[in-house]
Structures are given as structure tokens and as C-alpha cells.
């Protein structure tokens, strides 16, 4: 419950740790950047770079800032400062420096790539993705690196179909790359392509037991309502790698499906201890807090979830319910109307909007929304075979 206390005490999501996939890139890119020939042979800048390369990040940051005080327009020095800050885990400061550098050199693909990475590491895949796309369009040589990053962003944003479209053409070429397989497998399973996802899992497992593959297989089994099988895989994945991103969150989802709320809370809390911005855990912790009518805590979780997936309709729906529950039906109405405008088949949103309209004495609108909700739910029920345990 550490994360619960944090959220109750603070107003924002804390910085996430590095993600394994990007650790290597994060280390390589600043070094590559530092190896580029300096435009200004100034001794101070050389000293800063030397410190940076030697791993004295505090010294390098001080030296870059000293140089920039005299040469504020130096794009290279500011970019290097951003890289040093990012390497020191000071991502927000790094983002500010990259932005200032980009204001002088808006078409610099390396800067855009680094800025994208900084955004990614702060759990803002949407912002990251736009920078990655721009970098790749300016520098085709970055495309290889960027494709995987973009697909990973798409997975984080729940845009699995887009991720599949990006990665499918590379499958033959990259099938031996386990990072590729993991991201591609995640995308396929997220997109509902269970058979293809299973094939990718088999490919990973053929190289030996892997936490990543077990996480994917557990996800597949969860989707197929094989709760016991999913539990075995997810527990094994966590035993192999307790810091595997998303594993605790998936376990939390499984435990919710198994109606074990307390266990689910613990699992989501463990995920958030590893990555406070993780979407699934924030969303579900918010829902659990909302059920207990701990509305302020719920809102903070939802805000964190929105940080990971801006404009996510599910989170916005939950926040509209909070508005209704906390006596702001008009605010709920506006949010729900906007949501339905974008997602007209969102049955629950229609149902809640019906109740909101009735509360606002707009019976005709309530009747209309109720009829839409019922129709959508009937259609969904008709498509659901229900062949599963309850």
C-alpha cells in the first residue's frame, strides 16, 4: 500500500524507473551523440563532454550549464545537457533542455529521438510516439530503432492494431530478436490474434523459459478464461523476473477476474511500485477506490492512467462517473457527451448518460440514451456465447 499512501499524499505520479528494453538505447544514444564532432572547440565544452563520457554526470551537468551561461544558443551543449540529465534520471529537466535545443534546431532527428525517449521513460508514450515518428521521417537511418519504439508506444496506448501493422513486415527479418518477439507478441495478443500470438510465444520459449513469454501466454489464457492456467504462467513469470513490466498488472487483472479483490489490489500496488505510471494498474486501482467511494484517491489514479494513455475513453468514463458521484452531474454530462461523440458504441457511457439526464430532469434525453444503451448491450449479449464459468 506504499503507492496508495503516495497517491494520497501527493498530487502527481512519481518518476518511473528505466524500462529494460530501453536501457540499452538510453545508454547508447547519449554516447553516440557525444561522439559527434563539436561545433565549438571551446575547452569548457570539451571538459563537460569528457566528464559526461567518464560517467561523472553531476560534474558534466555543472560544466554544460557553465558553458551555456556564456553560449546559450549552443544546440550541441544543450542537447548534451539533456542527455546527461536523462542519464541521471532527471527526465523533466532533460525534456526542458531538449525542448530549448529544438527551438533552435527543430529538424534535429537525434534531438527528437532523445526527447522521445525521455517522454517514454516518464510514461508518456503518446508524446514519445510523435517525436519518434518525426525523427524517423527526418532521418531514415533511425527507422529501425524507431519502429520498435513506436510499436511499444502503441502497445502502451492500447493501439495494438497499429503496432501489429508496424511490426508484421519485419517478422521474418527479426524473428530471432527476443525484444521484437515480445513487443510483437504483445501487440498480436492485444489485437485478439491469439493464434499468431501463441506462435510468437512458442518462438520465445524455444530459446528457453522466459518471463516475457510466460507473461504473454498467461495473458492469452486470461483472455480465454483459463484462470488456473493463467495464474500458473503469471506466477512463474514473476518468479523468473519480479520486475518484468506489466506482469504484476496482468496478475492483478487475473485476480480481479477470479474475484480476489484483495490479491488484485496487492498485485496492482506491486506494479505501481515498479512503474507508478503503469496504465492498467492505475485504472484498476482507481476503479477499486471508486467502489469504496474513496473518490479523491480514485481521481488521482485515473489522472495517472490518463498520463499513460491520454484521452483513453475508459478512464474518461470513470472520471465522468466520479463527477456524477461527487455531485457534478452537469460536468459528468459534458464529459459523457464528448465521450459518446468520439465512441458512439460505448454502451456503459450511454447508460450512465441516461441516468445523468434523468438527474438533470431531461427525461426525453434520458429515454433516448437508455434506448441506445439497451440496444448496444443487447447486441453485445447476442454476440457473447457465455461459454465460460461465471
Amino acid at each position: 500500500m506504499t503507492i496508495m499512501r503516495h497517491l494520497e499524499g501527493g498530487q502527481s505520479c512519481p518518476q518511473p524507473p528505466f524500462r529494460r528494453l530501453f536501457l540499452a538505447l538510453a545508454l547508447i544514444l547519449p554516447a553516440l551523440y557525444a561522439q559527434q564532432p563539436a561545433a565549438d572547440p571551446d575547452a569548457l565544452l570539451q571538459h563537460a563532454i569528457a566528464l559526461h563520457q567518464a560517467g561523472d554526470l553531476d560534474g558534466a551537468i555543472r560544466a554544460y550549464r557553465e558553458y551555456l551561461a556564456a553560449q546559450p544558443d549552443s544546440v550541441q551543449a544543450r542537447s548534451n545537457l539533456g542527455a546527461a540529465l536523462a542519464r541521471a534520471g532527471r527526465y523533466e529537466e532533460a525534456i526542458a533542455e531538449y525542448d530549448r535545443a529544438l527551438s533552435k534546431s527543430p529538424e534535429n532527428p537525434a534531438l527528437l529521438l532523445n526527447l522521445g525517449l525521455a517522454y517514454y521513460k516518464t510514461g508518456r508514450p503518446a508524446e514519445a510516439a510523435t517525436r519518434f515518428e518525426r525523427a524517423a521521417s527526418l532521418a531514415p537511418q533511425f527507422k529501425g530503432q524507431v519502429t520498435l519504439l513506436l510499436a511499444s508506444c502503441d502497445n502502451s496506448l492500447g493501439k495494438y492494431k497499429q503496432a501489429v501493422a508496424l511490426l508484421a513486415p519485419l517478422e521474418n527479418e527479426k524473428s530471432a530478436d527476443q525484444a521484437f518477439n515480445y513487443i510483437y507478441g504483445t501487440a498480436l495478443i492485444g489485437d485478439g490474434q491469439s493464434a499468431s500470438g501463441a506462435a510468437v510465444i512458442d518462438r520465445i520459449l524455444s530459446a528457453g523459459d522466459s518471463a516475457e513469454a510466460l507473461l504473454l501466454r498467461g495473458t492469452l489464457k486470461l483472455r480465454a478464461h483459463d484462470h488456473d492456467g493463467a495464474l500458473a504462467d503469471l506466477e512463474k513469470a514473476i518468479a523468473l523476473n519480479g520486475r518484468l513490466p506489466g506482469a504484476h498488472a496482468r496478475l492483478g487483472e487475473l485476480l480481479l477476474a477470479m474475484r480476489e479483490k484483495d490479491g488484485a489490489r496487492t498485485a496492482f500496488g506491486q506494479e505501481l511500485a515498479l512503474d507508478p505510471d503503469e496504465f492498467v494498474s492505475n485504472l484498476n486501482m482507481g476503479v477499486l477506490a471508486k467502489q469504496d467511494q474513496e473518490y479523491a484517491a480514485a481521481r488521482r489514479y485515473f489522472e495517472c492512467a490518463l498520463k499513460a494513455r491520454p484521452n483513453d475513453p475508459g478512464v474518461r468514463y470513470q472520471m465522468a462517473i466520479l463527477d456524477l458521484a461527487t455531485g457534478n452531474p452537469d460536468q459528468a454530462r459534458k464529459a459523457l457527451e464528448a465521450l459518446i461523440g468520439e465512441s458512439p458504441d460505448f454502451a456503459e457511457a450511454h447508460a450512465t448518460l441516461a441516468t445523468v439526464y434523468y438527474r438533470l430532469d431531461r427525461s426525453a434525453d434520458g429515454d433516448r440514451e437508455r434506448a441506445i444503451a439497451q440496444k448496444l448491450m443487447d447486441q453485445r449479449d447476442a454476440a457473447d456465447t457465455g461459454v465460460r464459468a461465471r
Binding site: 483459463d226 474475484r259 467511494q293 462517473i321 447508460a351 457473447d384 465460460r388 464459468a389 461465471r390
Partner: protein
Amino acid sequence: MRRWLMFGGWWLVFSGWWLVFSGEEPEPRRPHFTDIASKSNFAYRTDNNFTGRKYFPQTMCGGVAAFDFDNDGRMDLFFTNGAKLPELEKTDPRFYNCLLRNRGDGTFEDVTARAGLLGKDLGFSFGVAAGDYDNDGFEDLFVCNAGPNVLYHNNGDGTFTDVTARSGITKPKDVLSVAAAWFDYDNDGKLDLIVSNYTVWTPRTDKICAANGVEYYCHPKVYSPVAHRLYHNLGNGRFEDVTEASGFGKELGKGMGIAIADFNGDGYMDVFVANDTMRNFLFINQKNGTFKESAFEWGVAYDESGNAGSSMGADAKDYDNDGWPDLFYNNLKGEIWGLYHNLGGKSMSYVSGISRVSRLSARSSGWSNGFVDYNNDGWKDLYSSNGDIDNMGDISRQRDTMFENVDGKEFRDVSGLLGADFNHAGFQRGSAFVDLNNDGFEDLVVTSLDEKPRILLNSADNGNHWLLVNTIGRRSNRDGVGVALKLTTASGRTLYNHVTTSDGFMSSSDKRVHFGLGPEKAIASLEIRWPSGIVQTLKKLRADQILTVTEPAR
């Protein structure tokens, strides 16, 4: 010796600190429950005929009715039972329904055969509703079945007659009826009948669901919803199916528990039906023979997130004594049990979270339920009979729960303090609240799959006072179903309740209205609003009595 005294001294010091820092009130004395079923000789066990093959109805077996069939002033018990499957027949005495006559000495006599209530010709029985539909002063029974439902007329001589055929109560072929409730929806002085139906089902159409070679009970999604049915009492033992004309037929559901109350205070009874994995229904009486399904307007169609839960049992009573009936339905494990606070007769507010019900209930799969003031402190508590749908794991057997009402604001789980018999682990299903020994404390009768029912006697030993009110209507229906009562104690505390036998799931409770009075021994006034519109006020009543009130001429 010295060391012992030192220890004692330290203990006292710490004890004192605890009291100072915790600031807690001493725990109140609570009654507990003792199962007295074993004192009686009866064969009934709740038998769902589970033999390995999992048929849909097997999860729902063991309805209970508490009613005084012989008018001796002591509440008797009726239990429904399953049937042989796939034959769907009560081929063996072990499937017979059961009527137990209360001897008044803590034992019960099985009089089923003599009363004509074995139900040999019935299919799989579910819910039961007791009510005097013909106003002859004897309580009748309606039993819901997979197969034809049945209306039993109480002949007044200890026997019952199946009058279904001449009553006109029919239903579409193969509709599976789960629960029923008697109420007078048009205030014409005759009890009408609402039946919650689940689906169309026969053993031949039963679905098989399995994974990895293990069969489990199918998710309700595999079964189609049907209309609940409303029958208008025409008098002379005849009923008219007004399902379509009343508006009930417009809504298709998977009906479970039914709660009857006048939610908007207009003098006409409304109907809440809990639907399994579908939105719930709240039929608001339009006072012209029709109902408007208004669960969306009232905010009780779905849970707060717009999701449909399992919605099992249901009850409507006023838990915070503000004069408006509130709503409680339970759910399966991991879902949120719904406690809704009535906002002045216009809508309901979800209060499961702030009342702590959401947290307290998370691990229980509830079936029958209800508001009951088990400790006579004047606050209605929340009871639920619990047990998993299926026997799939170590925690499938569950204990019942009692969430004690703390000043009408929140609830705490006191189940563990109510005795070993209350905490029996099983697959509990039906339940009824009833004062079996007329001591003013509510007893509990609970069925459990493949077991004898528990007859849980309340120890009634916390010193709190009470009043039981037995209403007899004249212009209103004779049972007084729908009568609204407002009790004001000598100190000015006001308590509210109404007459209904319908609560929980598949069950029918003591029709007498129960009030716990806490430490108060005197009642300043009792206001009685009859369905006929007549308002009667009784003043200066003593506590601790069973008060029979007959409706005045006007």
C-alpha cells in the same frame, strides 16, 4: 509471586493506556444464534440432485417461507426442494417439499403429507411466497418451479389444495420461475402476485460448459432473458395475467430476488427485481394499473460503473430511519453488493463504499439477504446467506454474514461473534427472518445445498426491547401487505418499516412487522398507514408485546 504481581501490574497499566488512547466504546452485548433443527425429526434436506452433471437450476435450490399456516400464533416453516434430473420430476421422497409445524417448544413436526404439500407432481422448485390471497384469514402459498408454478389454497384445516388450474395463473411454456411476491398493486384490497422469471429452460435445452475436461455451471449469458409476470387478483380465487397491460412485459430479465416497497411515497407499492448479470428493474407504480421501469432514473439499473452484477437477493427497508425505504441487493464474490440510499423518494444514491459494505462483502457470494434488526437496537442490519455457485475450491463453502448497522451510517462485520452455528460453512441459499418463539428477537432459517436447513434461534439476551405488529386489513388486503408504520419512542426516536413477506432470494419472511427499540420500554405513538388510505395512530404503547392491529372502518 512478586513477578506475577509485577506482570499483573504492567497489564493494568497497558490496559489503561489502551482505553485512553483507543477511545473505543465497550462492545455492546450481542445476541448469538443456535441451530435447533436437530431437535426435530424431519427428513427434509435441500437436494438439488447433483450427481456430477451440472444442470443450470441446481445452483438455486431451497426456498423458505415462514408463515403461520394454522393460525396458532406460532410461525411455521415451508421449504422447497429440487427434483431428479434430467427427468425434472420429484421421483423420490428426498425431493419433496416440506411443511414444518411449530410446536412452540423449540421443535417442529413434519406435516407435509397431511397438509398436501409434498409437491410430488411438481418439477424442480425454487422460490415460495406466503400470502392470504383470498382474505379468508389463512395464509396461502405460491411455489415457483421449473415446470408449472403452483398456487396452494390454505383450507383452514391444516390442509392445502392445489388451485392453480382454476386460478388462471399460467406462464409461457418452459419458463423457469425463481421467486414471487404478494402485494396489492392497485390497493383494491386483494393481494396480487409478481413472479420473477429467469429464462426458458428444460433439461433437454440445458447447456453444457466445460474447460480442460472439468464441467462447470454455465455463465448466465448462455440463457435468454424473459419477462417477469404480474397477475392481478380478480377475487373469487381468479387471477388475470396483466404482464403486458401493466408494462412488465416490455422488459426482459433474468429474475432473482424481489423487493416490494413504496419507494416514492405515493401510497402505491413499487417492485424491484434483481436480475442476474443484467440490469436490475425498478417498476414504479403509475397508480393506474401500469408500471414504468425506472431503474435508470433511480440509478439502480447498474452498479456505479455501469456494470451489471450477479444481483441475487433483494430487500427494501429503511436502514437509516429517515422515513424512506432503501435498497439492498447482494452479489457474487468480487462484485459489489449494492446498498442504495433513497433520496427522498426521487432517486437512489449508491452508498456501498461509504457504508463499508463494498469492502465487507468482497469475499462472499451472497444469495438470500435482507435488512434485519437482529439485536433490537433500532437499526436494521444486513444479513446475507452465502456460498459459491460451484464447488470449485477450498473457499467455495462460505459462512453467512451479518453486517451490523452503526447508527444508520456504516456497517461492521459481526458475523464471527454470532456463534458457531451462524458461522456454519456451506452452500447457503434461501433464508427467512422470523420470530419463531415470539420473544421479539428475529430468528433465522437458512437452507444449504445437500444439507438440512438451519433453524437459528436468536439468544435474545442483550436486554433490548421490541415491538411486533401483526396487521389485519379490512378494506385493505387482510395481511396488510403495504402497510407503512412509523413508530415514535418515548424519547422521540422515530423508526420506520412496512409490511411485506418478500425479501432475499426464493424466500418469504414473517409478515409481522418488527421494531427493535434498544433500551426504551415505552412507545409514544405508532402511526399506521393502510393501503386503503386510512391512517391510524395508536398512542402510549408498552414495548415487548405482539400487537395485533385491525384496520379501522375509516
